[in-house]
């Protein structure tokens, strides 16, 4: 039975491949947007607005499916094996693509298993402290932490822990890592005064007057925090995680499909709905061409390798 259905699939596939579908026809049917987080989060909220715009731009229904788990790892692992025919594309943060395979040796996918059609926005990945903290920058934080002896840090993801471990190792700090799930768990720990320092994907901007932004975790300064130093500027060589959101296809995709998506993303980047939602969830629009996005993924993966080497991280 199985062999039979495989045979039928193979025959159908050969038939489809034999018919030279002109790439400019794409999409000829509904397209699926794959999101690696649960419905309701920042990526999902943005993705659904993008799906609406793409439906208009591509002339076919774009449906969203959520396959959550392992910081996008579950979605990406399955997505690697999708047919590269344009029926499904991935929308999510680059950090899920670059960080996961390097810290979890069980994962099969690598950053070069995908083709990037462009970037749209970026998470404002930052180190934050409660608004009443007696420091404003990394130097002040280190002095405060040394004076206090041991600080408590809200660690909302494996990446968040690695960044703090790198800082702690370089500055000789003692840290209690308080695990928490997602941005909202972090906010709760900070607002109730249980931790001194935390990692934020940008969610803290929704609580004005409650947080101080101490440093940017990205390689370059962030759009919404032009005056905040990056960790690299503060002297932490190689300590950076970039989290722009990109659109990706499985390897082997027709370049014409990529080009069409790239053009649609450019339109989306100036869409009024997109601008409104970007403001309300603190993820500024940073449009990137396909070439720029691919280069960024490559650089970001290399930066993470260096950071993991610095702290002597062993993949599990």
């Amino acid at each position: 039975m199985r062999a039979l259905s495989k045979g039928i699939f193979a025959a159908l596939f050969a038939l489809c491949a034999a018919l030279p579908a002109s790439a400019t026809d794409w999409p000829t049917g509904p397209v699926t947007m794959l999101i690696g987080y649960k419905a309701g989060g920042g990526t999902d909220t943005k993705g659904r607005v993008l799906a609406k715009i793409l439906t208009r731009e591509l002339g076919q229904q774009v449906n969203v499916i959520n396959r959550a788990g392992g910081g996008q790892a579950v979605a990406l692992e399955g997505f690697k094996n999708e047919e590269p025919n344009g029926d499904m594309f991935f929308f999510g943060a680059v950090s899920g693509i670059t960080l996961n395979p390097q810290i979890n040796s069980a994962l099969q996918f690598r950053a070069d298993d995908y083709v990037y059609a462009g970037g749209l926005t970026e998470f404002q990945v930052t180190m934050v402290a409660p608004a009443d903290a007696p420091f404003d920058d990394m130097a002040g934080f280190v002095a405060y932490a040394k004076e206090k002896g041991k600080i408590k840090y809200a660690s909302l993801s494996p990446g968040a822990k690695i960044v703090m471990q790198a800082i702690a190792r370089q500055s000789g700090l003692e840290v209690d890592y308080i695990p928490t799930k997602g941005g909202r768990g972090m906010v709760q720990l900070v607002l109730s005064g249980q931790v001194d320092f935390a990692y934020s994907g940008g969610i803290h901007a929704r609580y004005p007057g409650k947080f101080k932004t101490i440093a940017a975790v990205s390689t370059k300064r962030l759009g919404n925090y032009p005056d905040t130093e990056t960790l690299i500027e503060a002297g932490y060589e190689g300590v950076a995680i970039d989290a722009p959101t990109v659109v990706a296809f499985p390897k082997g995709i027709d370049p014409a499909i990529v080009a069409k998506m790239e053009a649609a993303l450019k339109v989306a980047s100036t869409d009024p709905d997109m601008m409104k939602i970007s403001k309300s969830i603190n993820m500024p629009i940073v449009y990137q061409t396909a070439a720029e996005a691919s280069q960024l993924v490559e650089e970001s993966a290399a930066a993470i390798t260096i950071m993991l080497d610095t702290i002597g991280y062993k993949a599990s």
């Binding site: 419905a39 659904r48 069980a106 209690d176 308080i178 928490t180 929704r206 609580y207 599990s316």
Partner: protein
Amino acid sequence: MESFLPVLESAFAPGNLAWILFGVTLGYLVGALPGLGKGTATAVAIPLTFYLSPLAAIAFLVGIAKGSTAGSAVSAILLNTPGEPSSTPTAMAGYPLARAGKAQKALKMGLFASVIGDLFSTIVLILVAQELAEYALGIGPVELTGILAFSMVFIAGLSGRSMIKGLIAGLFGILVSCIGLEVETGSPRLTFGMIEVYDGLPLIPVAIGMLALSEMMIQIGQRQRLQDEADLLQGSGIREDRIVTLGDWRRSARAILRGCLIGTGVGILPGLGASVGSFLSYGAERKASGRGADFEETGAIEGVAAAESADNAVVPASFVPLFAIGIPGSVIAAILIGAFTIQGITPGPLLFLENRDLILGVYISMIAASLFLLLIGYFGQNVFARIVRVSPALVMPIVVFLCCLGAYLQGGGAFGIGVMVVFGIIGFFAKKYDFSFVTFLIGFVIGPSFELSLRQTLGLVTDVSELLDHPVALAFGALAVFGVWRLTVLQRRQHEAMVRDQP
């Protein structure tokens, strides 16, 4: 005050009311299907709200949440398969009533208790959202650990005949909840290389398997007896058995009031969830009535009232931390955050300042939804009550099909169906050997938050003496220990008495 009129106008606009009505109806229908609960209903409806005004969108979703919470009592009472875990106690006390020919009475009481719990909790939300949120923030990881440990013991002790078996089931649930990526470093646990379980086993297929599918397996084995019972379920024909009498109200008033208070309290505390509320309320009423296991054997109208009032009271109360500090108190509240952000609104401290009119409109819509619920439920029940007139031979395949559908949709495709079947088999044996499957589910659901808050506590409290700063946590911890001791002693005495009575 002069700005209040336009708010009223927009809240009572025909379009808005129609969306609330549609939401409540849809929710009630979905809730009545076994295994499909408020989480599923609300999540599926989110895309529909893209094209609505913020007020209509939120009112629609709140309507679904309220409708499905009440609707899940219908299948609990009629089919003994709760629409969602939090209606399990309703099934325990209500299904025996239905078998005794009092299905309509139980359904009506369930509905009235739901509406009262819902209305009470909505009013509490309106009156004290901002003030209570301040206290909720003070319930940190240390307190939550104590409360969760206490809830676990309490539920284990009440949902089966044996405390030890209950605890075994609960701890097994916690063990199963450990499957997936560990929260802090992301190392895989018990995954055996399966990527699908990286985010843990999907809750809905596990719950459907344990609750509905295993029940169907047991029922298939007793088809003839059920066929006979289906005739009973048609009702006794006596008017007394179809309506809620003054006597029923007198018996249930205390249970409803307590249910309102427990449900509201549980809703305000983030992370406990509707199941904890309905089980606590049910357990408290069972204890207060002094009837013990009789509750599940002959059924108890006050048990239905206790479970449903608390179940529904959790939903509005869980919006308290959402509206005031932006932290969801329940699955529904978490889904609503997505709906708010799609509309460009940020739940949190500024909500009452920047979107005051919207919040007032939502409040009014919530009260309207309570009233619609009464209406839809009251008239819809006649339709739903017909389910019981259908032969079990027809009902069972339909229920199994719906189970598969729910598991497929919520469990990542065919994998979800596999999970459901495995847990259906586990549930079958758990029921046969009296290991409380409910305690298993509670352990499975609260497992991740229990682990997380315990680990946070271990990081936050570096010295034992610091525990003295957390009197709430200490009190609940002590209650948990006392509960294990007390219930074990009681059950041993009962057991000894039973042995003595046997010749």
